[in-house]
């Protein structure tokens, strides 16, 4: 049924239609309305799940790891400092191969205090072993939860998934969202039924000490699963499209990239605005395109290499940063492109931190500026829109 709802309600309904059985979460702006909505759905009986109240995000993740190991489908949501507090248990949940699905409402980290969007919180969890998806709209938020469970629970994957939705720009913005019937979701997503689980009648040991002769083997297996998940996401989305009649563009969505003079790479909601700008510039005869990184972990190496053959200039617009080096997504793009034929010119912009609005006007200027780049590897990072550093 198509309804008008916020990204946060789309998240809550995503957990509901997937029949998540154990929910544990701690409220934080701007994630709170996800938890409120789920609590309402559980208390009214519309959602048959156990809601475990906890005193912190750390405990929420601990509760879900246990529930997941006992064989339950689990869901939580958090944001920013809540996600940072979870960090230890994010690594644990991936290592324990628990297929938890979590919504993260991407919000800048403090200080200075901010409740507005950037991707620094989720990017800082890059090395935890979680798969990560960045969404550009509320429909994608809901659909990615369904796809997330499907892939996470696959026996050869068994990794948790983080679905990233931008603070306020998705979390508190209403848009039309099709909430699929639960029966349709059931036909796509069977109940979670792990081969090994916490069971008092049939005890196993989980996560216990291994000697140096075996530790690396566990990490190798985890990485093998992450590598397999690349093809996994492609397959799951194809399957999803068969069932639900829509897709969201694969690991990287290419928009007008073929034969482009310049392509901007983005993730999250700013990519949606940028499509309008691409259409406008294309209508003026300017050959620009947009590549939207949808799946960030596993990193879409093949898609990025394919992109290199389509355009002369690639400019990565990072919605976060790593102090002392390039933007994090730019690093990954550069790494993936090393050694490829037809290496395009590369550029890195840092944009929109702490909710600095990415208007069509700013994005248009970015495209025009990028088209003017002349030669070589432009290693200078530009922070876009910083007061005292250029006119924006």
């Amino acid at each position: 049924m198509k309804m008008v709802m916020t990204g946060n309600y789309a998240s809550a309904y995503g957990a509901k239609v997937c029949r998540a059985e154990v929910i544990s979460a701690y409220p934080i702006t701007p994630q709170t309305s996800i938890v409120e909505k789920i609590a309402t759905l559980v208390s009214s009986g519309e959602m048959k799940a156990q809601f475990v109240k906890v005193e912190s995000e750390h405990s929420a993740m601990a509760a879900l790891i246990s529930a997941s190991m006992a064989g339950a489908r689990t869901y939580t949501a958090t944001s920013s400092h809540g996600l940072l507090l979870m960090h230890e248990l994010l690594i644990w949940s991936a290592g324990a191969r628990t297929p938890i699905v979590m919504s993260n409402v991407c919000r800048a980290n403090g200080p200075p205090w901010s409740v507005w969007v950037d991707h620094h919180d989720s990017i800082a969890q890059r090395d935890t072993g979680w798969m990560q998806v960045f969404c550009e709209g509320n429909q994608e938020v809901l659909d990615s939860i369904i796809m997330g469970y499907k892939l996470s629970e696959r026996e050869d994957i068994r990794l948790p998934t983080m679905i990233n939705e931008d603070a306020f720009i998705l979390s508190h913005t209403v848009e039309p969202v099709d909430v699929p019937d639960m029966e349709l979701v059931d036909s796509f997503l069977p109940p979670y039924n792990p081969r090994f689980r916490l069971d008092v009648d049939e005890p196993y040991g989980f996560g216990s000490l291994v000697m140096p002769d075996m530790y690396m083997e566990f990490r190798y297996k985890l990485n093998e699963a992450m590598e397999a998940a690349r093809q996994g996401w492609r397959d799951v989305e194809k399957d999803f499209e068969k069932h639900f009649g829509r897709n969201h563009g694969g690991l990287v969505e290419f928009y007008q990239c073929e034969g482009a003079d310049a392509v901007l790479i983005m993730a999250g909601s700013i990519a949606s605005t940028a499509k309008d700008v691409v259409d406008k510039l294309r209508s003026q005869g300017k050959k620009v395109g947009l590549a939207r990184i949808r799946v960030f972990r596993p990193f879409p190496v093949e898609e990025i290499r394919k992109l290199a053959g389509m355009t002369n200039i690639l400019a990565m617009c990072d919605h976060s940063y790593t102090f002392g080096h390039w933007g994090p997504m730019a690093q990954e793009v550069r790494g993936a492109l090393y050694g490829t034929k037809d290496m395009p010119m590369l550029k890195n912009y840092i944009v929109g931190l702490g909710g600095k609005d990415m208007t069509p006007e700013v994005i248009e200027k970015l495209f025009l500026k990028t088209l003017e780049l002349k030669s070589g590897l432009d290693s200078e990072i530009e922070w876009i829109g910083v007061k005292g550093h250029g006119e924006w």
Partner: protein, 187 residues
């Protein structure tokens, strides 16, 4: 694409109003989005909320800086906020006020091509016992007035959206919308 900005104070229902307007247009088959100014809301503080309505899918996710319509829920905001900031040429301001239009035009520094509409939404809300006398909830009345003054949505779909979204006093809110629809004055 039509862009609307609502000005209210925390607790008056400006954010809900922006959502109800979006849903009303959605009921009529339009593409919509609505969002609050992403602030740290407190009861009584100035709040802005926005609605976009279009015939094709809305991809733009940035803020609204040049609205076609401005709706002001609280008359006291006229001294606190520049409510006509960025209003498009030919745009309309809808105010909840009893002040004369001549005075308003001067106070707001409206240009001659800006249209002005007024409705006594506070009186209507109090009459229908929406909120308290000290803090009436005027959003449904203003939406009714908006439907008439702009023609962007029909009264029927607006009332359906009001009924879907208000948590209590559903009929009273619908009646307030209807009364404001009938009594709004376009100057």
């Amino acid at each position: 694409m039509i862009e609307v900005r609502f000005h209210g104070r925390g607790g008056q229902g400006a954010v809900i109003a922006s959502n109800i307007l979006a849903e009303a247009a959605f009921i009529e088959g339009k593409e919509v989005s609505a969002f609050p100014f992403f602030g740290v809301e407190r009861r009584g503080a100035p709040v802005t909320a926005y609605t976009r309505i279009a015939d094709t899918k809305i991809r733009i996710k940035s803020g609204i800086y040049e609205p076609d319509f401005v709706v002001v829920l609280d008359p006291s905001l006229l001294d606190a906020v520049n409510i006509v900031e960025g209003l498009k040429s030919g745009g309309l301001v809808l105010l909840n006020t009893k002040v004369s239009p001549e005075k308003l035009r001067i106070n707001l520094k409206l240009s001659p091509d800006h249209k002005l509409a007024t409705v006594k939404a506070t009186d209507i809300a109090i009459k229908h016992k929406l909120g308290s006398k000290a803090a009436p909830i005027v959003n449904s009345a203003l939406l009714g007035a908006f439907a008439k003054a702009t023609g962007v949505v029909g009264l029927e779909s607006l009332i359906e959206a009001v009924k879907n979204n208000v948590p209590i006093k559903v009929e009273e809110n619908a009646l307030a919308a209807k009364e404001a629809y009938d009594s709004v004055v376009i100057h």
